[in-house]
Amino acid sequence: MTEPTAPLEQHGPPPALEMRGITKRYPGVLANDGIDLQVHPGEIHALLGENGAGKTTLMNILYGLATPDAGQILLDGEPVSISSPSDAIRRGISMVHQHFMLVPVLSVADNILLGEEPMAGPVFLDRRSAYGRLRDLATFFGWEIDLDAPVGTLSVGWQQRVEILKAVYRNAQILVLDEPTAVLTPQETREIFTMLRRLTTEGYSIIFISHKLYEVLEIANRITVIRRGRVVGERLPSQTDEEDLAQLMVGREVQLTVDRGTSHPGEPRLVVDDLYARDDRGHEVVHGVSLEVRAGEVLGIAGVAGNGQDELVEALVGLRRPSAGRVQLDGHDVTGAGPRDLHQRGMAFVPADRHRFGLVLSYPLTDNLVLTDYFRPPYARGIMRDEDAIRVQAGKAVEQYDIRTPSVDVAAATLSGGNQQKVIVARELDRDLRLLVLDQPTRGLDVGSIEFIHRQAIAKRDAGTAILLVSAELDEVLELSDRIGVMYRGRLVALMDARSATREAVGLLMATGGSQPQKTDTGAA
């Protein structure tokens, strides 16, 4: 079922882009293993694969950011060599990277012009001549955009558009979009799709990279699936469905959604009352959030990244001191309590940035697995560590949580993202919990690991733990939550029962904050 299907028959003009036998090896990883890819003029070609499957490597090779060890690239049937992004740009290839390649402090116009600056003489820029063309392009898409606004002040949706304007300004013929919808709301995604279709009618060929199956089925003319650096199948959307694609992508049958069952909420565990918090630069980014998480339920907080979720979570888990408000855990005031105190009261935390907060990357798994308890029995006696007890615990965790590692003594840095996350989950969840805080628990993980972590979370809920889930992935929030809240500009603008929540409704709240009177008025302006 997983062997490559025969290439679809093609006649007529040569493909706009053909990549033949692309191979790229990084230390210890064969990122691309003889990949063939054909993109035809005017088509939207989806490249589907899990994180780490090799999609981004392939596109970096196409864009001259990485050099292939073997293989050939042909544009309109002609072999070409692309050794730098400027080569790629000159040959009409543009790329919208997953992490936007925009300079926040520069204006919209400067970001678009950068690298292809219109000049008045040898030294000075001629911005004025470019403005007319930029306005025409924006009008073509029906956008009103302030060319002088610093890009850093725009929403991610608008930054995405600036990226696309950048590509169009360079007269690209082939446009590569790497996970363009990862940070967008459903509404923004729809707008981007409309625009992409419009671009194909203008003669653009588009490579659309994603791991979201339903999006790929909606937008693509053709789908190439990559797994572990190899092409494992090519499909037309009309001939396939989500289950088929998921199986190709993961290599085995997967359950796309966790069976959530019914929740049996009990008494309130976490009570947050009118909480305010500031970010690192001193700006208030959490404005009076009030919420309650009850035993045996998952409260999911959705929101576009950067709407105060990070600071809210940090304020709750003891990493940031709230500037005002009250936090109660099991009826005790824990406002401003430190992480160790909270841990001892039964709180566990799976952080969004596992490299910064969850793990000490240079430490072995043994130490990482006891980071929260290393100082007390059974892992320590007095001032001495008990290595044996630590190793026993590590062995148990590796087995029970299916952590794939050559040994418990290797540094956490050497594991894949999915296995690193399992280490954190093993440490945090392996005891009786009162409250579990999950902050983007599956960011950047493969489908298999996501499935595993979601199961663990639901199992904890069913055992009576209160769970607060914060995620910018709307799908994840919808899948796991019993109740859903939406953060918008530092406020909790809505709180609803998950059964009544739809993608569209939550997406709209994420994008606009909702215009109707808010259900959970936080009482502060």
């Binding site: 990084y26 000159r90 790329m95 402090v105 520069l106 400067d110 690298g115 000049m119 030294v123 000075f124």
Partner: protein, 354 residues
């Protein structure tokens, strides 16, 4: 009026302000002169840091260049004619100036290689430069002093004709800003040119992009490594100018450690000036003012109550004024002045390619 000046605290403050104004009016030129090495050093830092390379080795670069300029000028003076051209330029001084510039560029090349190509810690690289420059120049100066080298003299200041300087106000302004040696004058030109280029030229746009988000710059076809090299080397040219100022313009001899922390004050000026050319040189002028003020108090102390009060303070405090101002200024602005986002981060082309 008399009555107000006699009031205990307010009177003192008013007298102080009056004295300050008097110092500025009488010593305007000296303020600019003394801020030259700080200003040029800050511009060197500007060139480095705006493209993402931290440079705390400005002090060492200046010291090495001061030595290079002086030594080569003094050697050349042994066999070359020393007929003076405009601004006191003699052939040995010209060669000395070029040697100072070359020294600055060479030391910068070491910094560029360590921090861009080798991707070493840029703080360490700068520290090495400071230590090595102090050690080597000190040792060489000691060796050379035993043969009592002849001095090549120094560059002289521009002289405006009497009728121009006699114009009220404007004459004073022109004299203050223009009656300087060529190195100080060059700073006044360079700062304006850099300020304009930073915001209006392709070089400026690319430099800002590379200092903030080098990968974004690379993805639009900009060669990050080449741009950083170029900017660091050009910065070395400015450090070279600053160094030459010590030994062939302001003075005519070399002493061990003579830059005396001005390279570090230049860094403070860069931060205080929010990483812009005009801001940096403006901040340098503030330090120049502190320096001038310290000297004025020791040489022509104010009369009256203020003089009595200031007289009670040990004179060393006034000599330390530029450093005290540095601490106060940095305590006030650090944290609020935001450096370029990629400042100090080595760039690796395929770092996150996977």
């Amino acid at each position: 009026m008399e009555a107000i000046l006699d009031l205990p605290v307010i009177g003192l403050i008013l007298q102080f302000i009056g004295y300050l104004v008097q110092v500025v009016v009488l010593n305007g030129g000296l303020i600019i002169t003394l801020s030259t090495p700080i200003g040029l050093g800050a511009l060197c830092g500007f060139m480095n840091e705006r493209s993402g390379v931290v440079n705390i080795g400005i002090e060492g670069m200046m010291l090495a260049s001061a030595f290079g300029a002086w030594y080569v000028a003094s050697i050349s003076a042994g066999f070359l004619p020393d007929a003076a051209g405009p601004l006191g330029f003699t052939l040995p001084l010209l060669i000395g100036l070029l040697a100072g510039l070359a020294t600055g560029v060479l030391v910068s090349l070491a910094h560029a290689w360590l921090s861009i190509t080798v991707r070493a810690d840029q703080i360490i690289s700068g520290t090495i430069i400071n230590i090595v420059a102090l050690g080597i120049t000190g040792y060489l100066a000691l060796l050379i002093s035993q043969s009592s080298p002849r001095s090549a003299g120094n560059l002289s200041a521009l002289n405006l004709p009497q009728p121009v300087t006699d114009i009220p106000v404007l004459g004073w302004l022109l004299a203050t800003f223009l009656e300087h040696g060529p190195i100080t004058l060059s700073m006044l030109v360079v700062v304006v040119v850099l300020q304009v280029l930073l915001y209006r030229s392709r070089w400026g746009l690319r430099t800002r992009a590379v200092g903030e988000h080098p990968r974004a710059a690379e993805t639009v076809g900009i060669d990050v490594i080449a741009l950083r090299y170029r900017n660091v080397l050009l910065g070395g040219l400015l450090a070279g100018l600053a160094g030459a100022w010590f030994t062939i313009e302001y003075g005519n001899s070399f002493q061990s450690g003579m830059t005396n922390g001005r390279g570090f004050i230049a860094l403070a000026a860069l931060i205080f000036g929010r990483w812009t050319p005009l801001g940096s040189v403006g901040a340098a002028l503030l330090f120049g003012l502190a320096d001038t003020f310290g000297r004025a108090i020791r040489q022509t102390p104010p009369a009256g109550d203020l003089g009595a009060v200031l007289g009670a303070i040990p004179p060393q405090v006034f000599a330390a004024l530029p450093y005290i101002v540095t601490i106060i200024v940095l305590a006030g602005v650090v944290g609020r002045s935001i450096p370029p986002a990629a400042d100090g981060q080595p760039y690796e082309r395929e770092a996150t390619a996977r």
